[in-house]
Structures are given as C-alpha cells and as structure tokens.
Symmetry: C2
C-alpha cells in the first residue's frame, strides 16, 4: 500500500507551476528588453527566425492556449502580431498576456490537468503536457535569443534570475 | 472548502515528471549526435561555451544532483569530464546517467519534493525547484546547441520529438 501511495503521489502544485511559468515569462520579457529594437526584428543566425518571430509564437501560444483550455473552445494558432517593428508594442502585449494568464490559470480545476485535449485543433496531449510544452518551448526559444544577444555582443540576463 | 481543495491540489506526478525529464534528455542526446565531432568540441558563437562544455555541465548536474538529493550528502559541482575529444565517450556517460536517474528517481519519496536543500553546497531551493532547474537548464542550453547546429548548416531534431 505504501508503494501505491508513493506511485500516485504528486510532485508539483498548480500554484507552484504558475509561479514557475511566470518566472520564466519575466526572464523572457527581460530578454526582449535587452535586444536593440532593430536587431530584435531583423537579426538571425543560420536562417532561423528572428527573436521577434519567436516571441510572436510565444504570444500566440500563452494567452490563447490557456483561453482555449479554460473555455474548451478551439481556435487555430495565430503567430502574427501587427507590431509595426515596435518593441514597446510587443512588451505591452506581453504584459497583457501575463495578466490574462493570472486570471485564467485558477479557472483550471486541478482534476482537469490529466484531461486529453487537441490544442489549437492540432496538438494532441493532456492539459498538463500542453502547459509544460508552453514553458519548455519558451525556454528553448529564449535560449536561442541568448545566443542572438551574445552574437551581438550583448550580455543576457542571468538564466537563474526570474 | 472547495477553494482550499483546489489550492492544495497537485498538477504533476513524480512519474510524469521523470518521463518528461528523460524525454528531454533523449532529445539532448540526439542533439549531441547531430554535431560533427570536431565542431561539438570547438564550435561556439559570441564567445559562449562549446556545446561539449554545456553538455559536461548537464552531466555534472543530472546524475550527481539526484545522487545528492537521494543520499543527502553534498559534493561540489564538477563540470569536467576526461572526454579526449570523443563524442562516443560523452554519449556513453550520457547513457550511464540515464540509467542512474531511473534508479535514483523512485528513491525520492514524493513528500520530500518540498524539502529545502542546498544543492552542491551552493544552490538554495527545494527538491522540486532544483529538479525543475535541471530540466530548464538543459532545455536552455540545448536550444543554444540548436543555433550552433543551424549556424553549421545542420538541421536539428524536431523539438517536439522526445
């Protein structure tokens, strides 16, 4: 019985995961800030996307993804933002997404985390696997943004500061 | 009372987190494999470390970090490996760490995840925050490895394949 208890016990609370996600989003925000405006929208390496394009993907996933999880209404992924090459516009959208996530997150009853979903009508998984994907995908692309910054001679924020 | 239940409910099991970590480690393994041997040990961008140096950090953290969590005996972080510029040697150590993690992980009782630790005698946190850091740090550096590969004209494995 002890084994069974351990095997089904849980490691991470919903609140801790939200704080973890927002900590990462805060570091990504500081990574956006560190880019010169021109290079944010133009610099790339090896034919990859600009950091602005990666950030638009993150914006398309975070708020809309949680909205879909909460409302159970699916919409296609939209990675486009009319940013007008303005970092301030992107940062404003980033901050709005931060608020939206804080409002939506507590509306996910924890018993739903194992529920199967088809996010953006395309991506099969559970709610928890989808949310972990949001976070991992952001860390992955921000790591790439760090290389872009270094290649521009700019020191990124410390990875461990959130 | 309903609110209290929700607030303390848990989102992620220990088993799911282990599978998540090993899925990421499998993708990192394929990222190491994708590098030409010479560039794995020599290529960098913007004065950053080589991917081999980042991978030695990951090897220094994963097995030894879990060993410390399980044994409660602290040792300094060691990011050095006598690799002799051999990718095969690194991959062998990677696979040994995979096995070590699988053996050690179930020895962490889930009730310990919130326990405070000072990992490698230096890094303050809880067991769960430390393990999330292991994973996030690996995703971060692997994302950087992806840029190195792209800058060499090599297509990395798909991020969503684990």
């Amino acid at each position: 019985m002890e084994t069974t208890t351990k095997r089904t016990a849980m490691a991470l609370s919903s609140e801790t995961l939200l704080a973890h996600y927002q900590g990462h989003r805060n570091l990504t925000r500081r990574t956006i800030e560190a880019f010169p405006e021109k290079e944010f929208f133009s610099h790339n390496i090896g034919g990859m996307r600009t950091f602005a394009e990666m950030v638009m993907e993150l914006l398309g996933i975070a708020g809309p993804g949680l909205q879909e999880i909460v409302s159970e209404k699916s919409a296609p992924l939209d990675e486009h933002v009319d940013h007008g090459n303005s970092k301030a516009k992107i940062l404003k959208l980033w901050d709005e997404a931060t608020e939206q996530i804080n409002v939506l997150w507590p509306q996910i009853p924890t018993e739903r985390f194992q529920e199967k979903i088809l996010l953006f009508g395309m991506y099969e998984g559970t709610i928890i696997s989808s949310i972990l994907y949001f976070i991992d995908n952001e860390i992955h692309h921000r790591g790439q943004g760090f290389v872009y910054l270094r290649s521009l001679g700019i020191e990124p924020a410390a990875f461990y500061e959130r």
